[in-house]
């Protein structure tokens, strides 16, 4: 509730600044500064012709598709670098290095390899989030309290049983927060990919706003991108996270 009031105040202040700077003092050009009323108007227009819904839906589907592949690759790479000492020593620094690379850097590659297609965007999403997931899988397993594995060993756990009955459940809370972080990387990478290509989506709608010199549309798409990110985080990842922590008495 307090947050809603704060947002309302923020929007009112924004409208006030616009009114003062653009209308009254004429300090800024109207095409360079978005206005809450204009954003709202654009929102209604883009909703009524279905553009916004289509764009959001397309982006979300693309984001999810890329993310699912990234999770699978991330888990595999994470398990491998955790399990094999050689990879831990030599390959993990490489993975860490790739992970620091901003996802937009993969765009030239992806366009050369896949053209201006959906696959190009997916490639950027996967490269942008798989390695962060791999690192978090490795860390989650490393942070398991040794007493759990020790106890299981003295009860005769085989390697396979250890993974299924101890390692996976023990690292679950940390793994979920890794997945959550991976999603935020994927969502950002998705936008980096989408603004470069022409497939219908939020990124492309944003760039269209720029091309039409429609600053309110640009702002609207930015707000939608943030909103989708927050909704996914709060309604999916945070809910799962809380449930697991509560079951273990950690929250």
């Amino acid at each position: 509730m307090g947050m809603i009031i704060f947002l309302v105040i923020l929007i009112l202040a924004w409208q006030g600044v616009y009114w003062l700077g653009v209308d009254l003092l004429e300090l800024w050009k109207p095409y360079a500064v978005p206005e809450p009323a204009g954003v709202a108007k654009r929102f209604v227009e883009l909703c009524s012709d279905g553009t916004l819904f289509q764009a959001t839906f397309n982006s979300l589907m693309r984001g999810i598709a890329g993310y699912v592949v990234a999770v699978i690759i991330g888990i595999l790479v994470g398990l491998l670098i955790n399990h094999f000492n050689y990879l831990q020593k030599n390959f993990k620094p490489v993975v860490l290095g790739i992970q620091t690379l901003p996802s937009v850097c993969w765009v030239p590659f992806s366009i050369l390899w896949f053209g201006l297609s959906t696959n190009a965007i997916l490639f950027v999403v996967i490269m942008g989030s798989a390695f962060s997931i791999a690192i978090s899988v490795d860390n989650a397993i490393k942070n398991i309290q040794p007493i759990y594995t020790k106890a299981a060993l003295t009860m005769g756990a085989t390697k396979k049983q250890m993974y299924i009955n101890v390692i996976f459940p023990a690292c679950l809370p940390e793994f979920i927060s890794g997945l959550k972080q991976g999603w935020s990387f994927a969502w950002r990478a998705l936008m980096a990919g989408e603004v470069m290509t022409t497939s219908i989506g939020l990124g492309q709608t944003l760039i269209m706003g720029r091309d039409l010199a429609d600053i309110n549309q640009v702002m609207l798409v930015m707000v939608v991108i943030v909103a989708v990110g927050i909704i996914i985080d709060k309604c999916i990842f945070s809910v799962i996270e809380k449930r697991i922590l509560k079951k273990r008495g950690l929250a």
Binding site: K150, A151, A152, T154, M155, G156, N165
Partner: protein, 247 residues
């Protein structure tokens, strides 16, 4: 003779002296042996070696004539920090070892309930671990260890993280359970009183040399009472004997 320790040495790389030096010890079937010593005397190292969690630098450990090379269900450990799994409830924790061993489900249930009753936790079987007390967690860990039917049960200061009252209560129950089940137990403790109370024999380790300082048989009838004159006298005598070696 199920457990035989022969000329066992353990020398850690980062230490200038041996933690364990030429340890020879034989434990009979159904015997309760307590290892006592001050912190740093290597008593937990000895237990880890028997458990197979660490490798000796010399000598060997034989279980029923077979050399110990790694951890296994025939030497289950009960740890100081219970080692229960927080994602499982009480009875699921108790069944864990049986599940690994592929024991049929109804037998798991029956055996888990049998031992939960033995440690007075049958009413708490569905509780999550974080909702039961420290003492109850150790009871759960004890029940879990008992279900394993290990040849030797290893206990690494299982009661020392608990408050005095709970710890005393649990050792009384362990005495009763041991009298009922006659399991072979190797029990590590820093408390001479606990060792004299529980053990058929008390093995005192010397922290300076890493050797066995003395082995004392405790011939007091069970159930023992810490305030009986013979207990007080023997405890006092052993404290004198192991002074300097164990506190």
């Amino acid at each position: 003779m199920p457990l035989v320790i022969q000329g066992l040495n353990k020398h850690f790389d980062n230490s200038d002296k041996a933690t364990l030096n030429e340890i020879d010890l034989e434990i009979e079937s159904g015997e309760f042996v307590c290892i006592v010593g001050a912190s740093g005397c290597g008593k937990s190292t000895l237990l880890n070696l028997v458990a197979g969690l660490e490798k000796p630098t010399g000598g060997k450990i034989l279980l029923d004539g077979k050399e110990v090379t790694g951890p296994g269900a025939d030497r289950t450990v009960m740890f100081q920090e219970h080692g229960l799994f927080p994602w499982l409830n009480v009875i699921e924790n108790v069944k864990f070892g049986m599940k690994l061993a592929g024991v049929p489900k109804d037998e798991q249930e029956q055996k888990a309930m049998h031992y939960l009753k033995m440690v007075h936790l049958e009413d708490y079987k569905d509780y999550p671990i974080h909702q039961i007390s420290g003492g109850m967690r150790q009871r759960t860990a004890l029940a879990r260890a008992l279900t394993m039917d290990s040849k030797v049960l290893l206990m690494d200061e299982p009661f020392s993280a608990l408050d005095k009252q709970t710890s005393n209560r649990l050792r009384e129950e362990l005495q009763r359970i041991w009298m009922e089940t006659k399991k072979t137990i190797l029990f590590i403790t820093h408390s001479v009183e606990e060792a004299v109370y529980l053990g058929d024999r008390v093995v005192a380790l010397s922290p300076d040399t890493g050797r066995i300082a003395s082995i004392i048989s405790i011939d007091i009838e069970r159930p023992r009472h810490v305030y009986s004159p013979e207990f007080v006298e023997l405890r006092h005598k052993i404290m004198e004997q192991v002074r300097g070696e164990a506190v």
